[in-house]
């Protein structure tokens, strides 16, 4: 026997059991007893609904507890994993921003060093070639020799500094390990939240079934706050290679623009 058949059977039994007394009390004009009997039958009929609602409430409660977002808990704020995830993502933003800025600081500090070497090497090469062609007076050569010595000393010093900068740039990338770990944990939490919400969605569906409620899904969708407007911007496309309506690279953009006459 299925669950529904058992319920049906129980209801029938209740009606049959009370039918005789109901008839008797009606014949006697005993309205109080008659309505009591009817109420009992009603209660038995509603029992499965009550059971279902109680079960769903319990499940909802446990799903909320799983999410640790229950409002009545005084520690909800501290316990909330969502809140924690928010902080973690802020940490990622801070770390990536710092790494980017540190790297750019080092690149900006390195650029003048490289520029000096390039500029001075060019100038010295030109003069050195004049010397090898024996086009340089002795006095000028003495000056050239001094410049070459200065250049060598400064190159020695600057290349030390440069290699320090390069090392620091390398170290600045260590953010990737830390932020990677944090993002992994947040991703796990999102998977968990997704599961809980799916469970709640299933419960809501059962409530609707039990209570015989029907929703207009179109209206619900319209009321949803997650409306996309491409004018507002969507951010980077994560699956650019799979989506049809997304360009995959700059060549694609250029092709599209030139087809529009740009």
């Amino acid at each position: 026997m299925t669950h529904d058949e058992i319920i049906q059977d129980r209801l029938q039994q209740a009606v049959v059991e009370r039918a005789e007394s109901l008839q008797a009390s009606l014949a006697e004009g005993d309205w109080a007893t008659a309505s009591l009997l009817l109420e009992q039958i009603n209660d038995i009929r509603n029992q499965p609904l009550h059971d279902e609602v109680a079960k769903l409430t319990r499940e909802l409660h446990s799903a909320i507890l799983d999410l640790q977002i229950e409002g009545s808990n005084p520690h909800a704020q501290e316990m909330s994993q969502i809140n924690d995830a928010n902080e973690r993502l802020h940490y990622v933003m801070k770390m990536t921003e710092k790494a980017a800025n540190d790297t750019m600081d080092l690149v900006e500090a390195s650029a003048p060093l490289v520029n000096y070497i390039s500029y001075e090497a060019q100038s010295l090469t030109a003069d050195w070639q004049r010397f090898t062609r024996r086009e340089m007076p002795l006095e000028e050569f003495k000056d050239l020799a001094r410049r070459i010595e200065a250049f060598l000393l400064r190159s020695l010093h600057d290349s030390d500094q440069m290699s320090g900068h390069l090392n620091d740039i390398l170290l600045a990338q260590s953010f990737q390990d830390l932020t990677g770990q944090v993002i992994k944990r947040v991703t796990e939490l999102i998977g968990y939240v997704d599961q809980s919400l799916t469970r709640m969605g299933g419960m809501a569906k059962t409530v609707d079934q039990v209570a015989g409620i029907e929703h207009d899904h179109e209206t619900l969708q319209k009321g949803s706050q997650m409306q996309y407007d491409t004018s507002k911007g969507e951010g980077p496309q994560i699956r650019a290679d799979k989506a049809e309506d997304v360009v995959s690279d700059q060549v694609d953009v250029d092709d599209l623009l030139s087809s529009l006459g740009l």
Binding site: T230, G233, V247, D249, L260, L262
Partner: protein, 128 residues
């Protein structure tokens, strides 16, 4: 191309502004200013004699596409060359930007070469 032209860089992320600023400096453009949103960029453009606008799309207050439309709607600014440097990569969005009058479109992540190429093309067309 006038290397001294005044360029406004608009992006809500300071790191991206800095990257673009550095790349522009490498290309010889040193006269740059920065804004972190369309809403702060527009008054700067209206009072600042800028020759070129480089803007992101997705920004919190006023988006780059709205900034572009505001620029094209302003009689004194409507001929300002505008380059979009953005992560927005939907075909519809690129078409929307083209229709709004963008002069060039670079998708992030981009290369120094792509930026240079677009800037050169824009000014070839503007001056030609």
């Amino acid at each position: 191309m006038n290397k001294n032209m005044k360029i406004l860089i608009v992006d809500d992320f300071s790191t991206m502004r800095r990257i673009i600023k550095n790349l522009l400096r490498d290309l010889g453009f040193t006269n740059t200013e920065e804004a972190d949103d369309g809403s702060t960029a527009l008054p700067m453009l209206q009072s600042g004699n800028f020759d070129f606008l480089v803007t992101d799309w997705n920004m919190p207050q006023m988006t780059g596409i709205d900034l572009l439309r505001a620029v094209r709607a302003d009689d004194r600014l409507k001929h300002l060359p505008v380059l979009m440097v953005t992560a927005e990569a939907k075909r519809d969005q690129i078409i929307e930007a083209a229709q709004a009058g963008v002069n060039g479109y670079v998708v992030k992540p981009f290369t120094a070469h792509a930026l240079q190429d677009k800037i050169e093309k824009i000014f070839e067309r503007v001056n030609g």
